[in-house]
Symmetry: C2
Amino acid sequence: SAPQSDDLAQVKTMLQLCVDRYFISPGKSNTARFRRGMSCNYGPLGMELRRNLLEQWWRSVSSSRDQVFGISTVSCTMDGDSDTGEGGGHLRMVEAESLKQMLQQENISKEQIIQELQSLLQRAPPLRRNLLQGALLQFVPMLELVNRKLPFGLAEVGLCFEPSDGSGRLTEFTQTSLVWFCSPRTSSQWLDHWARQRLKWWRKFSLSPSGFSISNVPGEEVIAAASRGVRVLYNFPWGQEALETLWSRGDAELLHVHNGVRSKLQCRNERKSVPQVLSITGNVDCGLMAFLFNSLQQLEKKDGKQRLQHRKVLKLHPVLSPIKVALDTGRGATVELKQVCEGLLHELMETKITVWPGYLEPAPTSMEQLFAKYDEMGVLFSVVITEDTLETGLLQVRSRDTTIKETMHISAIMNFLTRYISAAEKI
Amino acid sequence: SAPQSDDLAQVKTMLQLCVDRYFISPGKSNTARFRRGMSCNYGPLGMELRRNLLEQWWRSVSSSRDQVFGISTVSCTMDGDSDTGEGGGHLRMVEAESLKQMLQQENISKEQIIQELQSLLQRAPPLRRNLLQGALLQFVPMLELVNRKLPFGLAEVGLCFEPSDGSGRLTEFTQTSLVWFCSPRTSSQWLDHWARQRLKWWRKFSLSPSGFSISNVPGEEVIAAASRGVRVLYNFPWGQEALETLWSRGDAELLHVHNGVRSKLQCRNERKSVPQVLSITGNVDCGLMAFLFNSLQQLEKKDGKQRLQHRKVLKLHPVLSPIKVALDTGRGATVELKQVCEGLLHELMETKITVWPGYLEPAPTSMEQLFAKYDEMGVLFSVVITEDTLETGLLQVRSRDTTIKETMHISAIMNFLTRYISAAEKI
């Protein structure tokens, strides 16, 4: 079905908000990249949101389980590395300079050109398209680590590349990867287990969990290397897109990477079997976009003069919100006010709370405008320090989610904020 | 002067330790990459050490200052992006498939090949060699953010690529970048300020601070774009290498990226000047290696039978240590012991303490061997749970730095470890 005009308006609103509020850099090609779920140029808020997302992913797959180990592999392989098979080969990095020099030689024949090109291609390092191959290569040393006992997993986050539509454009995205090694008997159960776990994880941080779902990959779309697949989908305004894909891949690729030497790969179970490989890969850039769309609330509200106001609030989960606290002076900062703000900022930063130095920005025309800005940035609390604060020590704290403004003494603010924010992280 | 054989032995020892203790993956080409300060395939410990290092870098340049904003830019630019000048151009990504297809055409002429290659090169996206260009492009929207007031900075961590010696080999490394924009009047002071700050940072986490130093870049090595430079050096066994480089770059590159439109770039100071650019770039992979070499202590000690033992201890700073606590059973884990370990592991992980599941590994031949292994891994505390623990609740905790073993009740261990580790983080 064709997307409704409401949906298109929502997409437009979201993209504009992301540019206006420093999630992504301005520019048509950058917005297009973002919209397609690729890596793009992120501003401070987008960068911080991605950091938070990756931190949570890492915690959920790696640091909460004793059998998952983090690794980090190179993005382009070199001579001396094993063949990377399916994962590489299509995109290669060439030194433009040496190609140009060759083309400038006057007496070079067609055959020489072809020969040189072929040798250049052979030497040119391939760029990875996914993180699977790196994990398969690292399987052997890690197997010793767990005393050859299954199951265990290798987790990684890294940049991957994809050739796109032949226009010379290139897709670059940050992939999350968990490669899970288990016994043949249990692989199907593990696939279901991980699919449920992953769905639960996405929903845990969402405002409307029903936007996220899982679905078996239909037979005709199952890749040759896999026997079965599950996708974690998000229902974007333009349709469903996969955020994560889980494949049950058997043992063929693992054997291939290790030249078929079964003895190296065998585990300490009854049958000394070569483990089955499950791959669970996600696109962080696409996931980030899903959470942005999922958390956008558009409200209509009458202002003091009975005019209809459109309020946009990015209700990101407290753990994901790139900025927890904004510090502002409301009406332009004097030197004294700025000092108070800076003091509070450093105190908050020491407790690892991300703070927005709103007092550096141009002054807003009204307090309503100020809060509207911070709502669009998904800031949990806006703290307003005024001349009054210098005299009485009182400041105003406004909550994104309740929109309630509280007056509080400056000595109480640290405790108030840290308590709320650390409670949110415990969920 | 030629390196002494002692120094070479130290390098060999270090590289072997890194492979044996899961800092890097085995393999000759991988070790060579690591040794050259490039990104390589990291095992769980190397990956975690790099994470800790980046976290500390991030905290020191970005989250502790109100005028530093984090960004994240793409590693290959696309049509529609601005010219990236000096930073790109040399390395381009080509789709090997389309090149191969062209070469297989039978009736293609030399001229056609040359033409097609030239157009392919033009379309092929360039890979970045540093993070400077991304920050210069993002300068304009960020300038609005700070109300056109100087100084401010843009911080980023990202993968960069370098062509190497023409052999088709490629250098891939993770760069840290702070691009600092300041008024012309203050740029020289800022360069000195940042050089001192950075040196202080490196020394803060080192065992022997004198290994780190700063030095002005000699006139003949100053790059064309810069007027002055400072390097942060580490004295490796094979000689000094730069971990970070600071350049005072003037305003030419910033103007070039923005097509010379001064009005867009002018700041709100007396003279409405275009800011001066300082770049502070580091190689994380090289920095990681510096801390490993810096923290390796080799001790000789007589064992119970008066035999000389060589003990290697990786005395990494507690904040950098990839693993804070190892949980072990000493002599093979029964189901019950494993359950106790798992319980403690999850409790520790919830407080974000990294734990090593030593009870999954093959059992060591002696307790001395066990502690020697954890010393080589730089583990701060080894906790040994035995059959005794099941009966009396008592376990043993051994400290890497004091080598003292304490007997402690299992109910006291969490408090003991979290207190020590959070105190270490406050430094």
